[in-house]
Amino acid sequence: MAAGFKTADLLEYYRRFLKENCRPDGRVLLEFRPTTLNIGSISTADGSALVKVGNTTIICGIKAELATPTVEAPGKGYIVPNVDLPPLCSSRFRPGPPGEPAQACSQFIADLIESSEIIQTDDLCVERGKLCWVLYCDLMCLDYDGNLRDACVIALLAALKNTQLPEAVISTETHLPVVDLEKRHGLKVCKHPVASSFCIFDESTLIVDPTDEEENLSTARITVVTEEGDRLCAVHKPGGMSLSGQKLQECINRATVRQKEIQKLTDKVLSSVKTS
Amino acid sequence: MMAAVEVSEAEKVYILHGIRDDLRVDGRGCEDYRHMEIETDVVSNTDGSAKVTLGHTVVLVGIKTEIGKPRPMVPNEGYLEFFVDCSANATPEFEGRGGEELGTELSNTLYRVFNNKHSIDLKRLCISPGEHCWVLYVDVLLLQCDGNLYDAMSIAIKAALFNTKIPKVFISSDDEGGKDIELSDDPYDCMRLNVENVPCIVTLCKVGHRHIVDATLQEKACSVASLIMSVTHKGTVTCTRKVGGGSLDPESIFEMTEAGKRVGKALHAPLMKLLEQEESLGKKQQKVGFFG
């Protein structure tokens, strides 16, 4: 019966649940799905992490390569994040160049890295004007069930904290780079931003961590990124239904709690990886 | 995928029964090739070329040599690049995407077969390690298609490689330690490739309970799966691959590899003899014309 109702009028089906302050998957409105983290499982990458937020699964692999710094910024390295939604993760995506959702998410991550200075790009410089590191952060979705951004940010931060760069210098004799793959050192990750995405239903109901179905039904989306110390880092709201200041404050409050939870989870998993 | 013809049930039975009795529609036995013609040096603006006619299948191969940069992982070797053009001339089915896909598939397989140290001494193609090497661009043009493309292509490639003349180059260093590449002044002063080890491909089609070589399109339509093998003059197998939508039982695979080795090994001696004969005729030989 319920299944038939759901097929016939999905939105009404959801409304009935939301009226009772819960969601079809059993969560309350401001509850995240169970989040699990697996760090450093890809040995071919210099740093890696796999995140599951409910069904949504993101794997992030970081590969470091050497390049010449730009003329404008001779003392800085590069960080190149890319999000891919391969046809594997949902029947919605086709093979070929990244579509609009993947491009938007890549840009969101790139802006976040740039503006919040997760890593000082000066740290990636080997020799000024001559040699620097490029961190290719490739994020790939393996199962797409909504809330791509939150999962991507968790995966990226965990993978960055896991990254071990080989030691590199420029030889004084040959003027060529010399790399020692055995001697490695970690990256200095200065900040720990965490994203929390919300959906607005019918102008008033606010839910967190939407599934794919909820994202499609909602009238507006908002992503709030906060850092440690309850500082607000970024707010992303691409149009849609407008939002009252009070609701926005509600989002920020929920996001700061989430930030603490995720940072704690990341550090816990990282330390268990190091000790084992 | 590959160009196909429609064969009626009655035709199929006729072909199958014939093959069972070792007598094919055109009178051949199961391990016989069709009449083959090989001509080298057919395209004047390439560095090496050959045309092979096998029954009604016609393949033209042109090789261009260029100086390129060695691949970072193998700095002391040159390499080969393959491009197969399935022109819609050969069969209307090559039109559009179908031909393109088949072309990539064929070029990938050719790359696997020919671009390795077992086939050609890739180190000889290196000019200065890490900086310059010869790249051989092998362009294959399918002019007419009547089955057994792989075999015809491999023979044409071997003949074209035999025919290829790579200009001699010298490396001179200037005062500042920079390197310069100089081409030999004498156009006849060139390097030839040793093609002795270059393999030939034998395609074996399983038809009924037997297998045949050099299948025509009709015969291919009766077969569920084929085995592609590249075999050197010593009879060693350098590459194998099962193609087609069916499966084969292990025993027939073993029978087919045995036959493929035998047939493939036997191809090389007459081919080399023919190529050397044609070479010795030099410019005196009578060209029979492009479509002669």
Binding site: K6, S41, I42, T44, S48, N55, T57, I59, G61, K63, A64, E65, L66, A67, Y78, V80, N82, P86, P87, L88, C89, S91, P95, P97, P98, Q103, S106, V134, Y136, D138, L142, D143, A168, P177, V178, V179, D180, L181 | M73, G96, T104, S107, Y111, R112, H118, V237, T238, C239, T240, R241, K242, G245, S247, L248, D249, P250, F254, T257, E258, K261
Partner: protein
């Protein structure tokens, strides 16, 4: 080189640090035990970890892990065929798309599908097709999407096993499972299920009997659905190699059966999905 405007771009040129390593890494020793303790000249395959039905969005999915090799496969369909130009509509179409994640290999790969990936996709398709009852799915296509998360050797072989499990998990009618096994021949000795270090090992003896072989096998029908070899091998070595690979497939069979039956019984007990 076409510029990619749809991705975040890095510098025009960047090089892998492994090109600048001062001393070359030690080669794999051709004698003695293998680096991971397995035995040579034995059908000593890596233990595999297999799971079905992990991806919520796919019709069927499977994950396989053998040593460090990690692969994920999703099956979508049957759905209406995209290509209307195919003349034969009585049969369904099986499409395969195999990709390497950019971080899956020692050298970073590109996002754009290379010729090696296309080649692997074709071989995967040819190995799977004989096992799928495509005549039951007229006018439709079944899509197999394979992602290599980490390449530590024998990718194609494990991809074949993984894809056939995902097809079975999707409830696609099949004649049999398809299992894959690889082998690396090095002179007189061989290693089964090679790691990537063993695959790339050129060995001291450059001339004779060096090659790789991958076999796809239908265990209950005793049929070979895929065969692919490289290198230079005598015909006897090749034949022996095929036999060894078949043996390797049989070693895998009980585990794969077990995983599949557990997956099916779980699906039967659980309430129907949403």
């Amino acid at each position: 080189m076409p510029t990619d405007t749809k991705r975040v771009r890095g510098p025009d040129v960047s090089q892998s640090p492994s090109l600048f390593v001062c001393q070359p890494a030690d080669g794999v020793s051709p004698q003695g035990p293998r680096a991971d303790g397995r035995r040579r000249d034995q059908v000593d395959v890596r233990p595999v970890f297999v799971r079905c039905g992990l991806v919520s969005q796919a019709k069927g999915s499977a994950y396989i892990e053998a040593g460090n090799t990690k692969l994920m496969c999703c099956v979508y369909g049957p759905r209406e065929t995209e290509r209307k130009d195919e003349t034969d509509m009585k049969c369904g179409r099986l499409t395969t798309d195999m990709r390497f994640a950019p971080f899956s290999c020692p050298e970073r790969g590109s996002w754009i599908q290379g010729s090696q990936e296309k080649d692997f996709s074709t071989m995967l398709q040819e190995s799977l097709q004989p096992a799928v009852c495509l005549h039951k799915y007229p006018r439709s296509q079944i899509e197999v999407n394979m992602m290599v998360l980490e390449n530590s050797g024998s990718v194609l072989a494990h991809a074949i096993t993984c894809a056939s499990l995902a097809l079975a998990d999707a409830g696609i009618e099949m004649y049999d499972l398809v299992l894959g096994c690889s082998l690396r021949q090095n002179g007189a000795s061989y290693v089964a299920d090679p790691t990537s270090a063993e695959e790339n090992d050129r060995g001291p003896d450059q001339s004779r009997n060096q090659g790789s072989l991958t076999v796809a096998f239908l265990p209950s029908l005793n049929q070979i659905s895929g065969l692919q070899s490289d290198g230079e091998m005598s015909e006897d070595t090749l034949t022996a190699g095929v036999r060894t690979c078949i043996e390797g497939c049989y070693k895998l069979y009980p585990l794969v059966q077990q995983v599949l039956s557990r997956c099916v019984s779980r699906a039967a007990c659980a309430p129907p999905p949403r």
